[in-house]
Structures are given as structure tokens and as C-alpha cells.
């Protein structure tokens, strides 16, 4: 009887504990309607197994491949949804808000929020930190004819991401985890 009680307690506690731990993986909507309207759509879903497989096919002798290999080393998933349209305002903000609302959950910290009148692009970068290490990155970029959602899960090394400068044209953002996030919207 005592053994049964202990087992029952464990069975009840484990899911509760799992729910309590912040989850860096975002629930991405299907965006089926948008995909039909879009002139170009990018849907990438890479889990741990696929990342490991990709790592085997990255050439260590090629600088770009070598840098990529370093970046994805500690990652557990990369998820990208990007849709490009042939006219302005072809998508609704509500489409993005379903994802954005998840970023107000505990664990997520907004690192960068930019609003540009010049390019009419809004970019929000969120990060999830666990034990002084980034374990999740979420990026939402909305432009008049395009919106992009990127979710990266795993041990994100921002230094290595910086070192990708020159590869893919990644800029140095001077992102310092000790600084307070959300410097304010750009005008």
C-alpha cells in the first residue's frame, strides 16, 4: 500500500515538475492559409537527430561549414517559418501574436525590440536563460511583405554566433546578457 502511494505521488509530481520547467520550444502554428498566399515560404524543422546528421555532412575544412558546425554543436532544435508576399499587409498581426503571446511566459526575456520607420521592419529578439546559459532564442521579424519566426533551442553560444560575422553576414550585435533588455523601440 505504501509502495503504491509513493508511486502515485511520483506519477503526479513528474508531469507537474515538467510543466513548471520553462520550455524554450515554441508551438508554431501551421500557417496553412498564409503559405497558400505567400510567393515564397520557408519552413525548416530541425530536431536533435537532424542537426546531428547535418553536422556529419558539414565539411570541417570549409570555413563556412566549420563555423556552422561550431554554432550547432550544442543545439537541440532550429525552427524557422518565413513567408514572403507580393503585396503589403497580406498577413494579419494576429497570425504572429499567437507566437508572440508564448514569449510572455516565464523564462523568456526580451533582449532586443526594434521598430524602424525607415524599413518598416519590427524585430523582437527573446532569449531564455537557465543557469547563466542561453537555452532558447526566439526571433520575430515582421516587415510589410514578409514575416519570419525563428526559434533556436539548446546551448546557444552568442559568442559563436558573433563569430559567424562574415559568414552569412551575421552582424555583431554586442549582446551582453548582463545588460537590461529592451533598450527601447527604434523610431
Amino acid at each position: 500500500m505504501r509502495k503504491y502511494t509513493v508511486s502515485l505521488l511520483i506519477a503526479l509530481l513528474v508531469p507537474a515538475l515538467a510543466c513548471a520547467a520553462p520550455n524554450p520550444k515554441l508551438a508554431m502554428p501551421e500557417f496553412a492559409g498564409l503559405a497558400q498566399k505567400a510567393t515564397e515560404s520557408v519552413t525548416i524543422t530541425l530536431d536533435t537527430a537532424l542537426l546531428a546528421m547535418a553536422g556529419k555532412f558539414l565539411d570541417g575544412n570549409d570555413p563556412q561549414d566549420a563555423a556552422t558546425k561550431e554554432v550547432i554543436k550544442g543545439l537541440r532544435g532550429i525552427y524557422v517559418r518565413s513567408y514572403t508576399f507580393d503585396k503589403d499587409s497580406a498577413y494579419q498581426q494576429a497570425d504572429i501574436d499567437a507566437v508572440r503571446s508564448q514569449l510572455s511566459a516565464p523564462g523568456w526575456t526580451r533582449l532586443v525590440e526594434t521598430r524602424s520607420r525607415k524599413t518598416r521592419a519590427n524585430v523582437d529578439i527573446y532569449i531564455m536563460i537557465d543557469k547563466d546559459q542561453a537555452v532558447g532564442l526566439a526571433l520575430i521579424a515582421s516587415e510589410p511583405r514578409q514575416f519570419t519566426i525563428v526559434n533556436i533551442i539548446g546551448a546557444i553560444d552568442l559568442d559563436k554566433l558573433h563569430k559567424l560575422e562574415g559568414q552569412f553576414g551575421v552582424p555583431k550585435l554586442d549582446i551582453d546578457l548582463s545588460k537590461t533588455p529592451a533598450q527601447g523601440p527604434a523610431k
Binding site: V42, L46, A121, G169, P171
Partner: protein
């Protein structure tokens, strides 16, 4: 009368030893023309295999070939999947970097405009 017949038959059927000449002729004939062997003995002595052996060997060879082809196809599929995963990783990082660049440009232009607003800077 019966005795005469009996003695006549005995005399006719008595064993007679062959002459030396006969023995020599017979031996010479045996050496010149050896006796014919059986067909199965001839086949085995020439190295031929029975039909069952050939069937087994063909089956084994087919099995090995099938396994080899399947392994090759599996490796091809694995390679294709790996290359596709690599392409997607590169594309994902490219898209991420493009959007990071957007944020960077916005932050940079804000910094520039703020610097321009401050007097004496």
C-alpha cells in the same frame, strides 16, 4: 546304357586348364583395352557438381547481391537526408542572420541619431 551316357557327360564336362598361350593373350587384351567405367564415376572424376550444389550456390549469391543492393540504397538515402539537413541548417542560419541584421541596422541607426542629437558629440 545310362552308365554310358553318364560317363560320356563326365568326360565332356571335365575341367580343363587353359593353355599358357590363352592366359597371355587374355592379359594382353586387358592391358590394351581397359574395361568401361560407370557414367557417374566418370562425371565425378572430371570435377562436375551435382544440380543441388548449383542451386544452393545460386541462392546464396542472389541473397548476398540483394543484401548488398539494399545496403547501397539505404546508404544513398541516408546521404541524401544528410545533405538535405545540411542545406536546411545553412538556410536557417542565413535567414536568422538576415533578421539579426535588420535589428542591427535599426539599433545602429538609433545610436547614430541619438549621437547626432547630443550636443558636442
Amino acid at each position: 546304357m545310362s552308365q554310358d551316357i553318364e560317363s560320356g557327360m563326365r568326360a565332356a564336362l571335365r575341367p580343363v586348364a587353359p593353355s599358357d598361350e590363352f592366359s597371355q593373350k587374355l592379359l594382353a587384351q586387358v592391358v590394351a583395352d581397359p574395361p568401361a567405367r560407370s557414367k557417374s564415376f566418370r562425371l565425378v572424376s572430371q570435377g562436375a557438381r551435382p544440380l543441388g550444389w548449383w542451386l544452393t550456390a545460386s541462392l546464396a549469391a542472389s541473397l548476398i547481391l540483394a543484401v548488398g543492393i539494399q545496403q547501397h540504397l539505404q546508404e544513398q538515402r541516408l546521404r541524401q537526408s544528410g545533405l538535405e539537413a545540411r542545406r536546411e541548417v545553412l538556410q536557417a542560419l542565413q535567414v536568422t542572420s538576415q533578421k539579426l541584421n535588420l535589428a542591427y541596422e535599426a539599433v545602429k541607426s538609433q545610436s547614430t541619431s541619438l549621437a547626432g542629437e547630443k550636443p558636442g558629440v
